[in-house]
C-alpha cells in the first residue's frame, strides 16, 4: 500500500499513470476487448499478493448497481477466488453519480489512514441510501463511519473536514474515464501482462467467473 500523499502530491493529468502507450486497446474478432493499464498505486487490495489475476472495480458509493455488486457478486468472488488466493481485488471509489460521491470517496481515504479502507467500503455499501438524496453529506458520512469498529472518529472527522483527499478522488475519476469507464461499477479483470477485460455493470456472477477462469 502506498501512502496517499504520494499520489496527491504529484497528481496531474499527465502523470496519472495512464498514457497512450499504457492504454493499449486491442480488439480482435471473437477476442474479448482488453485494456492495458497500471493499477493506481493507492488503494489497498483484498486477497493474496501472489494472486495472478486482479479485479479492479471502479465504483461509486452512491450507485445502486455497485451496491448490488457488493451484496450479490462480491461475496461469491471472495469465497471462490479472493479468499483462496487466486484473485486480488481492488476497489477504486470515483465520483460519477453526484456531488456526495466525492465526499463518500474522500471518506474511504480518510478511513484508509487508519487501515480501515475496506471496513469503510463495506459499511457504506451496507447502509447505502438513494442517489443524491442527501445521505452522503459530510455529517451523514461521519455518522456512518462512527459505526466502523476501531475507527478513531475524531481523526476521521477532521480528515473529512480538511478535504485533503478531494483531488485524489477527482484524479481517480479522471483515470477511470481515461480507461474507458462509462458507468459504475466497471470491473477490470486480468493483469498488466495479459491486459484487462472490462465488465460494465452489475452482471451475473458467472460472467466474472468465466472471465477469471479464461484469464487464469
Amino acid at each position: 500500500m502506498f501512502p496517499p500523499s504520494n499520489f496527491t502530491g504529484s497528481a496531474t493529468t499527465s502523470n496519472v499513470v495512464i498514457s497512450p502507450q499504457q492504454l493499449q486497446q486491442a480488439q480482435q474478432p471473437l477476442q474479448p476487448q482488453t485494456i492495458k493499464f497500471q493499477i493506481p498505486p493507492l488503494a489497498p487490495s483484498r486477497g493474496a499478493d501472489s494472486a495472478q489475476i486482479n479485479i479492479v472495480e471502479f465504483g461509486d458509493f452512491q450507485c445502486p448497481f455497485c451496491e448490488k455488486f457488493f451484496q450479490e457478486t462480491e461475496p461469491q468472488l471472495m469465497k471462490d477466488y479472493i479468499n483462496t488466493g487466486k484473485v486480488k481485488f481492488y476497489f477504486e471509489g470515483i465520483e460519477f453519480v453526484g456531488p456526495d460521491s466525492l465526499t463518500l470517496g474522500q471518506g474511504s481515504w480518510c478511513a484508509n489512514e487508519q487501515g480501515k479502507y475496506y471496513e469503510y467500503h463495506d459499511q457504506i455499501y451496507s447502509n447505502q441510501g438513494r442517489e443524491n438524496s442527501g445521505w452522503g453529506t459530510p455529517d451523514k458520512v461521519k455518522v456512518l463511519a462512527s459505526g466502523i469498529s476501531g475507527l478513531d472518529t475524531k481523526k476521521f472527522n477532521s480528515c473529512l473536514d480538511s478535504k485533503k483527499y478531494e483531488s485524489q478522488v477527482q484524479e481517480l475519476t479522471l483515470f477511470a474515464q481515461k480507461a474507458g469507464v462509462t458507468g459504475t461499477p466497471t470491473n477490470f479483470i486480468g493483469n498488466y501482462q495479459k491486459g484487462y477485460i472490462p465488465v460494465v455493470g452489475a452482471q451475473p456472477y458467472d460472467v466474472y467467473k468465466q472471465i477469471i477462469d479464461k484469464m487464469s
Partner: protein, 176 residues
C-alpha cells in the same frame, strides 16, 4: 375508439398477426436490454458460445431495471414493448393491404419505440442510452428515472395506432 376497436378486430382475427405481435414484443424487450448492456453482450460472446450465460445476462438486465428504477418504469417498458408489437403488426397488415407504409404518421411510431429504448435502464449507473445523448448521469439525473421517456412513448404509440387503425378501416381488411 371505435375506429381502433374495429381495426383491432380485423387485424387480430388472423392468428398470424397475434403471433407476430407477441414475437415483436419479446424481440423489442430483448433489443432494449441488449442496447443498454451492449458491452457485456460483446464480452460474453467473445468468451465463447454460451447460451446459458447470454440468458443470464438478459435475465439480470431485466431484473436490474426493476431493481434500480422500480416497478413503474419496468411496467411502462413492458407496455411499450407490447404496444410496439401491436403497432408493427398493424403496419405490416397495412403494408399488405395498401402496399404503402402509411407515411409520416406511421413513422411517429418509430419515435415511440425509441423512447422505450431510452427509458430502459442498464445494469450500471450512467451507461444508459440516455447518457449517449449527453445526460452524463444517465437515467439517475431524471427525477422519474426514465418514465420521462417511456410515458411519452406510450402516448406516441397509441396515437400511431389510431392513425394506422384509421388507414386500415378506410382501406379494407388485412390479408397475409
Amino acid at each position: 375508439m371505435l375506429v381502433m376497436k374495429s381495426a383491432f378486430q380485423r387485424v387480430f382475427k388472423n392468428p398470424r398477426y397475434v403471433i407476430l405481435s407477441i414475437l415483436i414484443s419479446f424481440f423489442m424487450f430483448f433489443v432494449f436490454i441488449l442496447a443498454n448492456n451492449f458491452s457485456t453482450f460483446v464480452t460474453v460472446l467473445s468468451l465463447g458460445p454460451s447460451p446459458k450465460l447470454l440468458v443470464d445476462v438478459i435475465t439480470n438486465g431485466s431484473a436490474n431495471i426493476l431493481y434500480a428504477a422500480g416497478p413503474a418504469l419496468f411496467a411502462s417498458i413492458i407496455v411499450v414493448c407490447i404496444l410496439s408489437g401491436i403497432t408493427i403488426s398493424m403496419i405490416v397488415c397495412q403494408l399488405q393491404v395498401t402496399r404503402s407504409f402509411g407515411g409520416k404518421k406511421n413513422l411517429a411510431s418509430v419515435g415511440g419505440i425509441l423512447g422505450g429504448g431510452f427509458a430502459s435502464a442498464c445494469s450500471a449507473c450512467s451507461a444508459t442510452l440516455a447518457s449517449i445523448m449527453g445526460a452524463a448521469g444517465g437515467l439517475a439525473i431524471f427525477p422519474l428515472k426514465g418514465l420521462e421517456f417511456s410515458l411519452p412513448s406510450i402516448g406516441i404509440l397509441v396515437v400511431s395506432m389510431y392513425f394506422i387503425s384509421k388507414g386500415l378501416t378506410e382501406s379494407g381488411k388485412c390479408k397475409i
